[in-house]
Symmetry: C2
Subunit: 268 residues, 2 copies
């Protein structure tokens, strides 16, 4: 997965988006991942460290190794971790398909917002499995852009979301991976696979989510692929603009927005 | 709402489907609705009593009045209640838009799987509100067929679900009402409106839901409108058959099915 093939790009606005998203969704997605003191944890695909910070704070006694393929992302992740005074994380550059660790090196593996970007997520999971000690756990968190629906309904808005799904598919990713995690993790040889959907429901009574999720996370993410959508002619400039306006309209007082993340735990 | 305008029809298979659905979903939807002994509860739109039985069992001391516009449905609801030895429910025939009760007659109103079938659900909620005493509560539960997504993805399956949505719209209903409940209930003048989505997630590790929900509830419901879909030419017999087969395919070992109900509580 080369840098240029990460669908959301590496701009500074994208960094802000990831930070906003992490903040708003921390409790929903991470509250039940706590690794015991002394346990060895691999975070496979840490990116710029948005989830690493949460992981390390929730398991302050765990010995965390965070890897990513992008040296640039790793640098930013390290900066973030240092700024936050977190000391239980070591960073290593590496390819998720051939990580430089001995068999059984880890008690737990954590994979968050990574598989959606891989052309062969099942092989990644298969490659990770031997790195776990016997009985070790795998935790995976992924979104599913096809789980997004909203009120008012708007065809251009749906089409705009669909463009993100198509662009991700074109570069070998899968934006609908959340719903597929059960067969995927089971198929990669793990046992005791348990899926826990985490739905984000947003209406006007939840202003922090209206701002932090409907606008700053989801709509900003869709908006981010605008230049590519227009370049590839997937939508006209007019309908794209309408679609984004409609997505922002879901943040109005009568609007509602729904999205579901999927969290999986399994054993080697 | 005349008998003939209930999209799912009144066949005996439909009765079985409703009974299966009620059984499987009881905990998910009803566990947190418990009315105190002596409280006066109106169930507006009880149908054949599938929810009435649960309501009465969960609140055995409440004094429940269940109304429906269909005399035939009421008869079947009464039979069911008698068979189950339930004694705290009284049935009355009535139109939800002009119920024969004094203002402030009830402490609580319960409306489940009813609004989706009404051409003007907001007016129904407005008409119900005066029947509550001050500070009384409203509870609404509705599905949202647009919340259904699944793996493997299949275009004919999506189209089949969309046919159900269109048919319901044609007879004045709204199969996407679940997501709209917040603005709807707020707009009808209720306060303290709180929406709680109840997602049904089904994979092979949950065989009771595979059978009870993916197949016997959702797919059976879609299948039930087949004759009308073919009569109106909304799909060809071949693509319809493919779509239903694909929906049943979500019950296979690698299949996943997701659907979300929305539960609302509010005060007068």
């Amino acid at each position: 997965m080369a840098d240029t093939r990460y669908v959301h790009g590496y701009s500074s606005r994208e960094s802000e988006r990831l930070a906003d998203q992490a903040q708003t969704l921390t409790n929903l997605l991470h509250h039940d991942t706590r690794y015991p003191p002394g346990s060895r944890v691999l975070e496979a695909g840490c990116g710029i460290g948005a989830q690493t910070v949460i992981l390390a704070r929730n398991s302050p006694g765990a010995i965390i190794t965070s890897v990513d393929i992008s040296e640039d992302s790793l640098k930013r992740a390290e900066e973030k971790i240092r700024q936050d005074g977190i000391t239980n994380v070591t960073f290593r550059q590496g390819d998720i398909f051939r990580l430089p660790f001995e068999k059984g090196s880890f008690d737990h593996i954590f994979v968050c917002f990574v598989l959606e970007h891989l052309a062969d997520p099942r092989r990644a999971l298969e490659q990770l499995r031997p790195l776990l000690k016997d009985g070790g756990t795998l935790t995976v968190i992924e979104g599913d852009h096809g789980s997004a629906y909203f009120h008012p309904e708007n065809e251009d808005a749906h089409r705009a979301v669909q463009c993100l799904v198509e662009l991700q598919r074109k570069i070998g990713g899968n934006a609908l991976i959340g719903r597929q995690l059960y067969p995927l993790v089971t198929g990669a040889g793990y046992t005791d696979v348990q899926v826990s959907p985490r739905m984000v429901y947003v209406d006007a009574s939840r202003p922090a989510l209206v701002e932090g999720f409907t606008k700053l996370t989801f709509t900003a993410m869709v908006e981010g692929v605008g230049p590519e959508v227009l370049k590839q002619g997937l939508m006209s400039p007019e309908t794209w603009k309408e679609g984004i306006a409609a997505l922002n309209g879901n943040a109005e007082p009568d609007g509602v927005f729904c999205y579901t993340f999927f969290k999986v735990t399994a054993r080697k």
